[in-house]
Symmetry: C3
């Protein structure tokens, strides 16, 4: 990859091509329960290089505002939400959820100065336990996100976000890269309390297929929303076993479950060019998560982590070598010696550097998923710059599901993936009214 392309793909401040592309989509900002009640404390949520805070106003409406008070740049994080807005701690200037200044206490009552004062406010909505934000041009705001997990009732899913100390792209590439599973996660993949293929509910015939063909072939197809990323294995005479990951623009994936286990979804949102928010979602489309499953996720199972209390920082992190245990690495099944699935990913991803230098890479055929994703992002960034249409904005393009299929041998583009599509919302037998919007 040329340096120009690496720069283009990894820089997301306002005004950059990739930054403007991200700003065309609804992005997850924080979980709804980080804003637990009306007029709760503000939360810092820096995104795409912008310093922002999230609040929930007196009416219960969530909002995402620029952090700096326009008066003299003090942080609204120290402010207090009350009576339909947030007041800056410094001089009491008050702003509503639309960013409009409501009060400048030191001004005479007749003053209309406040009418000219605004903070940047970005539209939000709440779905799937997440506060979503749209940071793009108002006239281009798309319909609300229809990723399947975002449309489910809260008891069906478990969602976390955490800080990762590197650029979003290398983190995302880790999530799109099937081929690292048998190395980075070896040992953990069977014993993990959430993903573990050794759990009841996994399908032993499928495990047999996976064990028998250790050298899957990769194929991909562009979709209206992003990409189908398939890994295929031989599944007996004339048959392929396809495992299909969905990539959705600009930074989402959905990973097929093994047997009856949960679906997994991820999202990677740039905090700035050197840090990102790593989102993990486990969900059943048709039933609630069990309490034991939730507890396992809270303790860092699956794609979740155990946190430093009160923060979004994983307890295992760069500063402590991710709790690397060399004896476990040497003696046991765990190929890395790093205890948790998610931290195995984080360790190698952060070790690529704050922004991986892709000019030094040597890609091979199993990197196909990464290559096609980069190409898709580059095309979309350029299309967006040129005012051409970009993929993944229509709700129908997002309502997809990952899964696995045993089908007659054929290229991925000939596989009928209809069985993977979720039911239309009006055909579902559960109510969506648990979700504030």
């Amino acid at each position: 990859m040329r340096r120009e392309e690496n720069d283009l793909l990894t820089r997301t401040d306002a005004g950059t091509p990739m930054g403007e592309l991200f700003r065309r989509y609804w992005l997850p900002a924080l979980t709804c329960d980080e804003l637990p009640h009306p007029d709760c404390p503000p939360v810092r949520v820096p995104l795409l290089g912008e310093r922002l805070i999230a609040i929930r106003d007196s009416s219960g409406r969530s909002a995402i505002l620029q952090e700096a008070c326009p008066h003299r740049q003090a942080s609204l994080y120290f402010g207090r939400c009350e009576d339909g807005g947030i007041r800056c701690a410094y001089h009491g200037w008050k702003f509503d959820a639309d960013g409009q200044c409501l009060d400048i206490p030191s001004e005479p009552a007749v003053s209309r100065a406040r009418e000219q004062i605004r903070v940047q406010a970005y539209p939000t909505l709440e779905r799937g336990g997440v506060v979503w934000v749209y940071m793009g041009p108002p006239e281009l705001m798309p319909a609300p996100p229809e990723l399947e997990w975002a449309t489910l009732p809260p008891y069906n899913l478990f969602v976390t976000r955490r800080l990762q100390e590197c650029n979003y792209l290398q983190t995302m590439e880790g999530g799109l890269d099937s081929s690292h599973l048998s190395w980075l996660h070896r040992g953990t993949i069977s014993s993990d309390p959430v993903l573990g293929t050794g759990r009841a509910g996994t399908d032993s015939s499928i495990l047999g297929i996976i064990a028998a063909d250790r050298n899957p072939r990769y194929d991909s197809v562009r979709t209206a929303g992003g990409l189908l990323l398939g890994a295929r294995r031989m599944a007996g005479e004339g048959l392929y076993y396809w495992r299909i990951t969905q990539f959705l623009m600009p930074c989402f994936n959905i990973i097929a479950p093994t047997g009856d286990l949960t679906l997994n979804a991820q999202a990677w949102v740039p905090l700035d060019d050197h840090n990102c928010w790593s989102w993990a979602v486990n969900y059943y489309v048709d039933k609630p998560l069990g309490e034991a499953e939730r507890e396992a996720m809270r303790r860092g199972g699956g794609l979740h982590v155990e946190f430093v209390p009160g923060t979004h920082q994983s307890a295992a992190n760069r500063g402590n070598d991710y709790h690397l245990d060399r004896a476990a690495q040497r003696g046991g099944d765990n190929f890395t010696g790093i205890p948790s699935f998610a931290m195995q990913d984080t360790a190698v991803q952060e070790s690529q550097g704050r922004i991986a230098d892709r000019t030094l890479e040597h890609l091979v055929s199993s990197d196909d998923g990464i290559i096609v994703t980069r190409r898709l992002l580059l095309d979309a960034a350029r299309d967006n710059q040129a005012g051409r249409p970009i993929p993944g904005l229509g709700p129908q393009t997002q309502a997809v599901r990952a899964g696995s299929l045993i089908v007659p041998q054929a290229d991925l583009k000939q596989v009928d993936t209809a069985p993977l599509r979720p039911l239309a919302r009006d055909q579902r037998d559960w109510a969506a009214d648990g979700n504030a919007e």
Copy 2:
């Protein structure tokens, strides 16, 4: 404000216009008791972007010297004061309080090399419990500072300095800005053990005036030493209640007491462009401070803070969100939830960024004090560059006092502020001989 002006006002390294302006005045460097006895250990006191140390030599004289030994740049901080000078720990080179090299032990006794070797030494003097330093051109050294508190006996005052992790100017602007009192310090201003208006000694009729007119008007007048910054409220038929803060060049203020409480003074001295020393002084002009008042200040009352022991860092600081207590903020009188008066200031000031970006501001009429101070500083910096006279150098211009007055309605410049002036030193009934000079 244009970027050029923001840069000019906030940069104070040697050679910058504002740096050269600061170097025309006596500045507080450290407290006298940080150098507790002759030949005590050196103290690091970086100022205006220069690495400096303070010592007290065998004769008891304080001195401020460049930190780097001219031999090979090792820090004199590791050195030892003895027999009329400080010896560098590396090779024993010895310098006196004037910076003159007295000894190069490895040189032959006949060598005169030491005569050519000096460290930069800045003149100091001690007044008001403070070691003052003059870092400007020797031929322009002004008379010793005559700020009233600096001329008082030590038992009348309490002085501290602390590190603040941002540019001096935004810290100073916080000290000149009356209008934040009713917001940032709401709740604390009545309960603070030093400033508290709820204390015995405050004047209930004045509190009534303040309560009745919540929308004071601001006015200012340039003086020979700096500025009078007035806030006026209606005080009955044809009368104004003026509270008058004194700003003295280049970085001092004096705040009027409420009723019989102490006067407050502050100073803000650049450490470098991204950090400053924040000085706080409480004093009575005519009587000693009580021990209970001193103890309250030691514990962080008023404009003082509780320190990380052995440092100039406040225990509440950027790293721990200034001990922000969200429950206290939500439930109680304390508008910020930050326990101490001084840390409320620090939180919002540091949140403006290491150097506040004043090109993004939206100033209003209550920012008058800030606006006129910036203009005064810009004028003085340019006058100094052009070799024209600058304000605040004459001792008589510094002998002023803050206070409050009830007077017939008139502009501030028509108010007779003579009642606020301190007595001339020879008219006072206390002796100044407690102060080393």
Copy 3:
């Protein structure tokens, strides 16, 4: 010194003149016992601005490889050594000790892609308890190092490396500078458990000479390997007492023992331009070290330090003012108040700045050793750039010993230093076969 020279001497990344000069020599990288057994965990050993790891493969061979996997730049530090190579934790790519890729598991068995893939691997050898690395052009690789201590059996020596948070050159200059001993190390030099002149085994007549002439003269002579750096004192009628330190290109010294104590050797290897590895070696040429001596070194005696466990960081360091004890400094023999010999050096060296600014220096006659060493390094860097021969590459030039002599008065270049030369290896009565090579 001009800025250009300071830059030239202190910058050692690949492609810089000094970086290319360092790359012409075998350099110590880590101790052999940091790689305790075949297939032990990798160790990070950044050198000369390059991110590197050290491994020991299944056959017991040590190797130094680039840290970044060529596939997608994940760190091989997280990898596992097994079956003749190290596998990257991310995708299992495997490399042997020569850097050749042996396996790309995701590639089809017939793929020859791996044949084109390499990581940078630098030649290593093990001598004197140290893994040495050669990072220069293969065709110019010199013979193995013949510094005397590197040829000794392991029971004769004690070797440590530690991180120092400044440029290598100022650290090295500290090691070549005899004249700081009587100041920086005053008090410690007699009581140190390793170097202490107060120990049994020191020669009281020599101590008498040293005490009697506190103003030694310095002289130096270029040798085929580097420099003789001599300090001479009067030793009675017509006699000089010479103490002779050997400097060997590009970063080694050997210090004469006092009486029957051990020889001391040091090496300073750039980690990057702002940090270096400081090596300390104590050794007897003809007998094993005693266990009590080893224990004293483990506890930070001599030029060694006590470590933060599991790291190369000294427990006393920049962050805690090197355990400076002002009361001890004031009251006692210890001139600095810093407890350990090695940390006294580190304190002043790090205080010179990350890269000392030599344009501000004032050198005197006792800095002769530093001056001639800089000149030697500058000459060698320029000779190397021009393709001319450089000193210190031949094994015979390295087989030298530091020591002290009482001889008739004469310049250093007239002194017969033959008594200081080690025996040729084939004349020694001990076997060298304890050293893997």
